[in-house]
């Protein structure tokens, strides 16, 4: 044992003696081990981070596309939606007996390079990650008003948002997006805790909000079309002033009814346009009429119009196709735009363009615009979603429901199993992974060759040392062991340096990775596969160190066979 200690001590001091060469060899080893371990680590981490991105979701349903496309889009929010799923399909799916819950997701908007996800409040209860960990709120709570937004932890930290802050959303992705929904201001209702998943990099709003911001977009066009009939408008303004004064006691009831209708109308194509505006109006009156009793205001207003329109010259046009259905709310919706315009008009007099009739026609135009608009961009049309997260009563139904979805008649749909798709996606990068491992192994071997070259080069000066050691009774094996231990020591120092730099690099890389992919690497760098890598490193070192050791052994055996000895 104490011979071993002597051995280590001699080896250590021998290395210090040859510091220059040893330092270079050690650096080479450190770098190569660093590369080797980081490849191992990133591979391991990426895989587990990948696998823990989403859990407790049994199926992901979307329009028919590639499985991996759907996964990338719905979970990682990479890529753009190519087709959407109609709301009818969402309902049909949720009506399936084995389906416990569905969480629709609507993508296509962004906020300063972060994706905006339209979904339902249920998302926050249903979406799980890691080992079934639920989403948690750092502050605040899920959205409940239409103009509430919940932000992911990274969005909050990067953009400095906190509870109650206001922000606007833009259509499409990135700053290059031409359309900004500048008119719609959202306020932060909650900030999510960090998850290490793409959730951190997203903003969440209700589906209604997604619809609202696009309805707003179309109302810009409407406003420009309706600037002609100023005098009509004047008269109407007059009417409306009257309405403002005669606030009806029915207003509240009416409003409640309206909200109910609005909800129903969401499922009906006929009512879409009106529905949009209604919602929009609700949104805007909140903003524009702060301090007023908005509900009463607008509802009273609507009622007035309804009544007055009996005597109005535009009455016919107005009631033409809606007569049967009109229960007030349709009118209300039609008026909504006027109402809004008027309020803007308080500042810009010339824009009091809309009269009832024009407004109505615009609604029809609007739906055409809507289509054009959505053909040009890739935003899901109103009433459709991008993907649906599905939870089942039991995992046993997974395949059954998957088949039901894949064979769905009304629409071409695709259902994927998240775990399976994640594994498939990982399979794609698996090849690259092995190439990286191969390269890092070769880098390491070449570093060992460098180490051996250094050892062999020092053999000339070592010859004398070996003679001295032999003369004081050191066995040949001692010389061999000395050389091997020196190699192992160099590699050990290299490994320690590599581990230290790996820890440093991980903390550094975490900042970058998290912002790009929402992935986080753990600082836990020792696990089976990296331990196996370390074991292989030492085994290879040992085997290769036998080359200089054998050389030294030969020197030791053929003691002073050179002419100098005589």
């Amino acid at each position: 044992m104490s011979t071993f200690r002597a051995l280590c001590s001699v080896a250590y001091q021998s290395l210090l003696y040859r510091f220059g060469g040893v330092a270079l060899a050690t650096s080479a080893v450190a770098i190569s081990v660093f590369v080797l371990l980081s490849v191992e680590h990133v591979r391991h981490e990426a895989r587990s981070s990948f696998a823990s991105t989403v859990s407790n979701v049994d199926l992901i349903v979307g329009a028919r596309t590639g499985e991996i496309n759907l996964l990338l889009l719905s979970i990682f929010r990479i890529g753009n939606p190519t087709a959407n799923v109609s709301w009818e399909s969402v309902e049909a799916l949720s009506e399936q007996q084995q389906v416990e819950w569905v969480v629709p997701i609507s993508l296509g908007d962004s906020h300063r390079n972060f994706r905006v996800v339209g979904t339902t409040a249920e998302f926050f209860d249903r979406y799980k990650y890691g080992q079934s960990k639920p989403l948690a709120f750092d502050t605040g709570r899920p959205f409940d008003a239409t103009l509430d937004v919940v932000v992911g932890s990274r969005v909050a930290s990067e953009l400095g948002y906190s509870l109650g802050d206001e922000l606007t959303l833009s259509h499409g992705m990135a700053d290059t997006s031409f359309t900004h929904h500048d008119q719609v201001t959202f306020s932060v209702s909650g900030v999510l805790a960090t998850t290490g998943t793409p959730v951190d990099n997203a903003l969440f709003v209700s589906l209604e909000a997604i619809e609202a911001i696009h309805a707003d977009e179309t109302s810009h066009e409407e406003k420009n079309d309706g600037q002609n009939s100023a005098h009509e408008n004047e008269r109407k303004e007059h009417d409306e002033h009257a309405a403002h004064e005669q606030q009806s006691v029915h207003a509240d009831e009416h409003h409640d009814g309206h909200e109910g209708d609005e909800h129903k109308n969401a499922h009906s194509d006929d009512h879409h346009d009106g529905h949009d505006s209604g919602e929009h109006q609700n949104a805007h009156t909140d903003d524009h009429h702060e301090g007023h009793d908005n509900d009463e205001h607008q509802n009273a207003h609507t009622d007035d119009h309804h009544d007055e329109h009996d005597n109005d010259e535009h009455h016919k046009a107005h009631t033409d196709d809606h007569h049967d259905e009109h229960e007030g709310h349709e009118q209300h919706n039609a008026h909504a735009d006027q109402h809004r315009d008027e309020h803007e008009g308080d500042e810009q007099e010339s824009q009091h363009a809309d009269d009832h009739h024009d407004g109505h026609e615009d609604h029809e135009q609007e739906s055409a615009h809507d289509h054009d608009h959505h053909d040009g961009h890739d935003h899901p049309p109103v009433g459709t979603v991008t993907a649906i997260l599905v939870g089942l009563d039991s995992a046993a139904y997974t395949l059954q429901i998957q088949r039901w979805v894949n064979e769905f008649k009304d629409e071409a749909l695709l259902a994927i199993l998240p775990g399976f798709a994640l594994a498939q996606l990982w399979g794609l990068v698996g090849g690259v992974e092995n190439v990286l491992r191969g390269i890092s192994a070769l880098v390491f071997i070449s570093a060992l060759f460098g180490l051996n070259a250094m050892m062999l080069a020092s053999m000339r000066e070592r010859k004398v040392e070996i003679e001295i050691l032999r003369s004081i009774g050191a066995p040949s094996l001692f010389i061999v062991a000395l050389l091997v231990i020196e190699s192992l020591l160099i590699v050990t120092i290299g490994v320690l340096l590599a581990l230290a730099s790996l820890l440093g690099a991980i903390s550094f890389a975490n900042n970058l990775l998290a912002s790009e992919l929402g992935l986080a690497l753990s600082l836990q760098i020792l696990y089976p596969s990296s331990l196996i890598a370390l074991a292989l490193i030492y085994l290879t070192t040992f085997v290769l160190s036998l080359v200089p050791a054998w050389q030294a052994y030969a020197v030791a055996r053929s003691y002073s066979s050179d002419p100098k000895a005589t």
Partner: protein, 231 residues
């Protein structure tokens, strides 16, 4: 600390050594004995095979034929490992130039030899320090790296290193050739002084006949070696 050196220090019989091939043998010594506790000056010219003979006596080489007995042990017949162990325990060697591992401290150089000889460096630590003092080395030097010492100091450390295991045989190979005259004489008197109260036999090899004056027993290698002059 001394051995019971009743055994014959060196007994060489029919020793033949050559480097192989067609070259004539370098050494051919029919018979040579060194008595216990005897100090012998072995004079030989350069290239006469002095160092080769010493390496045979130390068991660092084995003869082509014949036997070498050291302290009644047929060292030429032992296995490599046993020769190493025997050498570590019983034979001290001092070379011409390089005796010390340059990157080890003075004390570590000595203790490393002790480690191989006794299996425990710690046991001989105080003995090593005592010996270092006896060769007039400043105790402060003991922690210095060997390469930082002057040649004269290194040669004195080499004596200590060779004697730390209280060997029965000391083999010294031209240790003075690297020293100037003043250092040469002081080195030799120091060597004699250190050996005085030990029972250690010594073979001191040099090409310089003038040194031989300080020795009682003198031998010329050419008288022993039948191969001498044939080359």
């Amino acid at each position: 600390m001394s051995h019971e050196n009743t055994a014959v220090a060196i007994d060489v019989k029919e020793l033949v050594f050559g480097f192989g091939g067609n070259t004539p043998p370098v050494l051919n010594i029919p018979s040579w004995k060194v008595e216990p506790n005897q100090r012998i000056f072995l004079q030989g010219d350069s290239g006469s095979g002095k160092s080769t003979l010493l390496s045979l006596l130390a068991g660092l080489r084995t003869p082509s034929s014949g036997t070498v007995n050291v302290l009644d042990t047929p060292i030429s017949q032992l296995s490599g490992r046993k020769r190493d162990a025997f050498r570590a325990k019983n034979i001290g060697v001092v070379f011409q130039h390089f005796n010390l591992i340059p990157f080890l401290s003075v004390l570590d150089n000595v203790l490393l030899a002790a480690q191989f000889g006794s299996g425990s460096a710690a046991a001989l630590r105080s003995h090593a320090l005592e010996l270092l003092q006896r060769v007039n080395l400043d105790p402060g030097l003991s922690t210095r790296k060997a390469e930082e010492l002057s040649i004269g100091q290194q040669q004195r450390v080499a004596i200590v290193r060779a004697l730390v295991n209280s060997p029965a045989l000391l083999l010294v190979d031209e240790p003075t050739s690297a020293l100037d005259y003043a250092n040469k004489t002081s080195f030799l008197s120091l060597l004699n002084e250190v050996l005085e109260d030990t029972n250690c036999a010594m073979v001191f090899v040099s090409h310089d006949p003038s040194i031989g004056d300080m020795f009682e027993h003198r031998v010329a290698l050419n008288d022993l070696n039948q191969s001498a002059g044939t080359r």
